[in-house]
């Protein structure tokens, strides 16, 4: 299945590329002092600080870009894990016997209607300390400081695969009924050969489309957890934790609107582009 690059996908892809580049390179180009506490606490946007400063006088633009690194990293890696799980699950269910397929899809149905994020919350907080202990006993310093991010990536990958599994299963079922698969069977090709040679390559297009739709879900989930203070924690930050800070800076006494508005806009632009890209790809695949 060939996916032509549709015109509607152009703008979102540009925005996303730009965002990724900014997030990676931006903090390197800015003055190293912008990430450090400064004197101007809660300064409104100005030429020196285009997005204002926070309580400790840190430059908000710097923090948003740095938080974007975490958010995008978690989004992409988490979606990749969910892709792996969802594709293999759907592939197995779609190509297995009816009884197995039924049971596997029942499990997906049940998981769909359970508040999965709630379990992830418990899981993260149950395993974080374990992982930290394990990492420090092995001397993996990088893992000690970013254990929460690693756990977030794994656990969000573990809950976002359901849609992917459903789609892949449906597609596998429909490909299984095609005549070239029947021909391959008559020619004596085995189960695994048919799976890897004939079914899997034909899934690539639809998997790509749903990958672009899985990334925003993972980004949203990560932000949800970080917003509640149960995901990424200080000194690290992500868009979710910046939004949480922004939400508490908005009250009748102090109105630091820039702390809320700019992270919101950046996140909105990213999610909107990802959804638009996914929609455009999906439409061109259906057409």
């Amino acid at each position: 299945m060939k996916v032509d690059f549709p015109r509607q996908a152009l703008l979102p892809s540009l925005v996303l590329t730009l965002m990724t580049l900014l997030v990676i390179i931006g903090p390197l180009l800015m003055a190293p002092s912008s990430g450090l506490p400064g004197e101007a606490s809660y300064a409104a946007p100005s030429f020196a600080h285009p997005c204002g400063t926070d309580l400790n006088g840190r430059d908000m633009l710097f923090r948003i870009l740095e938080g974007g690194r975490v958010s995008l990293l978690v989004g992409i890696c988490g979606a990749a894990i969910s892709l792996l799980i969802g594709t293999s699950y759907g592939l197995i269910a779609g190509s297995a016997r009816d009884a197995i397929d039924n049971v596997m899809m029942r499990v997906v149905d049940i998981l769909y209607s359970v508040p999965r994020l709630i379990f992830i919350l418990i899981l993260i907080n149950a395993f974080n300390e374990r992982l930290q202990q394990c990492a420090s006993s092995h001397g993996w310093d990088w893992l000690v400081s970013s254990s929460r991010i690693v756990i977030l990536i794994i656990s969000l990958g573990l809950i976002e695969w359901l849609t992917m599994a459903r789609i892949v299963r449906g597609q596998t079922l429909s490909i299984k009924g095609r005549s070239y698969v029947a021909a391959a069977k008559v020619l004596g090709e085995g189960y695994w050969t048919i799976l890897s040679r004939h079914i899997f390559p034909n899934l690539a297009g639809i998997v790509l489309v749903y990958l672009t739709l899985a990334i925003p879900s993972v980004i949203i989930d990560e932000a949800f957890l970080s917003f509640l203070g149960l995901g990424v924690q200080a000194p690290q930050s992500s868009w979710g934790s910046l939004l949480a800070e922004g939400a508490t800076s908005i009250n009748p006494l102090r109105n630091a609107w820039w702390m809320l508005l700019f992270p919101s806009l950046v996140m909105l632009a990213t999610l909107l582009s990802l959804y638009n890209l996914g929609e455009a790809l999906r439409r061109s695949l259906q057409a």
Partner: protein, 300 residues
Amino acid sequence: MLRRIVSMPVVLLCVITITFFLIRLSPGGPFDSERKIPPAIEKQLLSKYKLDGPILDQYRGYLGDLLHGDLRLSTKYRNRSVNEILAQTLPVTLILGATAFILALVGGIWLGTFAAARPRSTSEWLALSLTLLAISLPSFVLGPLLILVFAIKLSWLPVGGWGDPTQLLLPALTLAIPCAAVIARLLHDSLRETLAEDFVRTARAKGLSDSTVVLRHALRVAILPVISYLGPLAANLLTGSIVVETIFHVPGAGGFFVNSILNRDGFLLGGVVIVYCVLLMIFNLIVDISYRILDRRIQG
């Protein structure tokens, strides 16, 4: 259908088991964070909260208490039982959730029908762009922004709190808007498909007006995907209510849920999870039954 009802207790048992072991096997007990307490008192505390003995016995005892409807004591809010806490907070969450549910359903169905009834027009494009925008605005972005605009800049509505109908409006909208957008998109897609079918052409050929064709004939068929989305929708609303309650300082079960994780308050956490899961399962069962009834009416 019968299999579905039978599977419900099994699922619930899995949920309880997973929650219980996740909490009990994670490092650190509920009394760790406080001042150092003498071992004798700690032992007494552990036995009061039934946290002593082998883990399997604890598990068996917990299941037994649950069967009697006893969700046990909270280890943080001393001397208050989980049943008591939930009895106070759950109605708040349910009112908020139900209001958001109705808003999402009404708004989503209206917008979806509005867009699908005007194919290839500017208003369709506008409505669809609006839904995409709304889906990209998760509740923790939308909520604070709504507060910023309506509560602080315009001072039309209160910033948060509970008890007054005006205090219900912003949190309910925050919860409902993204869900309404999903419903609108689902309905739009299926309605566009339905409107191209033969029976719709027949209805039009009979001379029925546009609105009758859409509302009385097409919508009935096209609504099915929306109905099957109601289950995940309810799950979304419950999860979303946790964050919305935090933003708007609504005294619902969500805040207790977050705190119970931070405080390692195992039985409160377990209680909230169990009640949420039971609610969702019952709701899903109702949705399933109504889907079947509707589907049969259409087929027959």
